[in-house]
């Protein structure tokens, strides 16, 4: 089993690598197209700003590479957002794997509950339908940090409520994605990563 973590200018690559270490899963961190193409599974992490990151992916031709992958691919956080069609963050066209628009959370007009943006912390995932999840994960807490979200749609694989119900995971064919950080979500997150590895 060969797992490749796509190496690019994202912030959480190290954390994803350590999480796989804790699961005892061998992996490589690479930007080499051949190594990525030949991997059994690919993880596309991400923390950062959408338009800057998208520009970088294009310069490195990683955009075409990701689109061409046939093995299971897991996008995390910004990785998931970049797999959508377009993002309001920096008004940028993204990979278009999921036919979805990434929008910024709008604070409620009368913000009596002092809701904050970004959403930062632990929230639950429900309506899970993907091989990433199993019944033990339904309604469990996972860790989120984000100001932009993907609305509910055809590819929604899990939902979370924050200001509104939105997609906290997506899946289409071999492409899996989570808005939360499984690598930072304690035992529940480890389980989700393990489920991905088992695919």
């Amino acid at each position: 089993m060969k797992i490749a973590i796509i190496k690019y200018n994202a912030g959480n690559i190290q954390s994803v690598s350590f999480a796989l270490d804790r699961l005892g899963v061998e992996h490589i961190i690479t930007s080499d197209p051949e190594e990525i193409k030949s991997a059994d599974k690919v993880i596309f992490p991400g923390v950062g700003e959408a338009s800057t990151t998208m520009k970088y992916l294009k310069e490195q031709k990683l955009d075409e590479l990701i689109l061409s992958l046939k093995q299971p691919v897991l996008g995390i956080c910004l990785g998931m957002q970049l797999m959508c069609k377009h993002s309001e963050e920096g008004n940028v066209d993204c990979l278009g794997i999921f036919d979805e628009e990434v929008k910024k959370f709008q604070l409620p007009e009368n913000n009596t509950e002092n809701i904050k943006v970004p959403q930062m912390g632990w929230n639950t995932i429900g309506n899970t339908k993907s091989a990433l999840f199993d019944s033990s994960i339904e309604d469990q807490f996972v860790y989120f940090v984000h100001s932009f979200y993907v609305a509910l749609g055809n590819d929604t694989a899990a939902t979370t409520n924050y200001i509104l119900p939105y997609s906290s995971a997506l899946q289409k064919d071999n492409f899996y994605a989570t808005q939360f950080h499984p690598e930072k979500s304690g035992d529940v997150g480890s389980k989700i990563l393990a489920n991905f590895i088992k695919l």
Binding site: G11, Q14, S15
Partner: protein, 252 residues
């Protein structure tokens, strides 16, 4: 529903966890990696590690420690203490830290917040503010562990930090810290209402009820404490059960 966060804070000196007792004697309480992993297992939502080592050598030890923490702890953690340049933050990011906390260095050089946010994203930048109550709404921001009063004021400085790109504010009331009589709820509520980024409350935790108050009256998004956890005065599982019973959303 987004859960309120419980955050144990570990002060680190020469690679060991310590807690200053009223700024005088320093007691060692254990190995930070072991303690951090234990807190994570018990249900801590995040951890904060503050390096109180001054020496250059000590800082290198701290970066190594951060890497060991990142390897062993499966929840997010913030590191702080002595971060005054982009390269300090970069070393900690590369070691696996999820967030950094800047305090005195941001007061002296507010542009640092912008630079950090631009380089690493706002989610990486916690601005810590230590402040001392003067009168009414007037809180003086202090630096160097509360020893030096500045002309900055809590509410305007917190707003400025948010505008410059801080992702969270960690507010410690120097009047409440170590006294164990509850958090500075009035000031916290004002911060939480004025700002749109999350507020972490610090200073004053002495009982489980104090946490209930900080989330209701203080409107805080997270509650941080050190000694009550280190000396096992309050267990994290008990605290979370209690908060849940009191109708506060927590991760169980």
């Amino acid at each position: 529903m987004l859960a309120k966060r419980i955050i144990p804070c570990l002060d680190i000196k020469n690679g060991m966890t310590v807690k200053g007792i009223k700024f005088v004697g320093i007691k060692e309480v254990g190995d930070p990696v072991e303690l951090g992993a234990l807190y994570a297992e018990q249900g801590a939502d995040e951890l904060v590690f503050l390096d109180i080592t001054a020496s250059h050598e000590g800082r290198k030890t701290f970066v190594d420690l951060v890497k060991r923490i990142a390897q062993h702890v499966n929840i997010p953690f913030t590191v702080g203490g002595g971060i005054s340049e982009i390269k300090d933050a970069e070393a900690l990011l590369n070691a696996g830290a999820d967030k950094i906390s800047i305090n005195s260095s941001a007061v002296r050089n507010p542009q640092l917040i912008n630079d950090m946010a631009l380089n690493f994203g706002s989610q990486f930048v916690v601005t810590a503010i230590d402040a001392k109550h003067m009168a009414g709404d007037d809180w003086a921001v202090t630096v160097n562990g509360g020893r030096i009063e500045t002309d900055k004021r809590l509410f305007s400085w917190a707003k400025e930090a948010e505008d410059r790109g801080a992702g969270e504010i960690l507010f410690t009331s120097m009047d409440h810290d170590g006294v164990k009589q509850g958090f500075a709820n009035e000031a916290l509520a004002k911060l939480s209402t004025d700002l749109t980024i999350p507020i972490i409350a610090s200073g004053g935790a002495g009982s489980m009820e104090h946490f209930k108050d900080v989330f209701t009256k203080g409107k805080a998004d997270a509650g941080l404490a050190a000694s009550i956890f280190h000396y096992k005065e309050i267990g994290i599982p008990d605290l979370k059960q209690y908060l849940n019973t009191e109708g506060i959303s927590v991760r169980l």
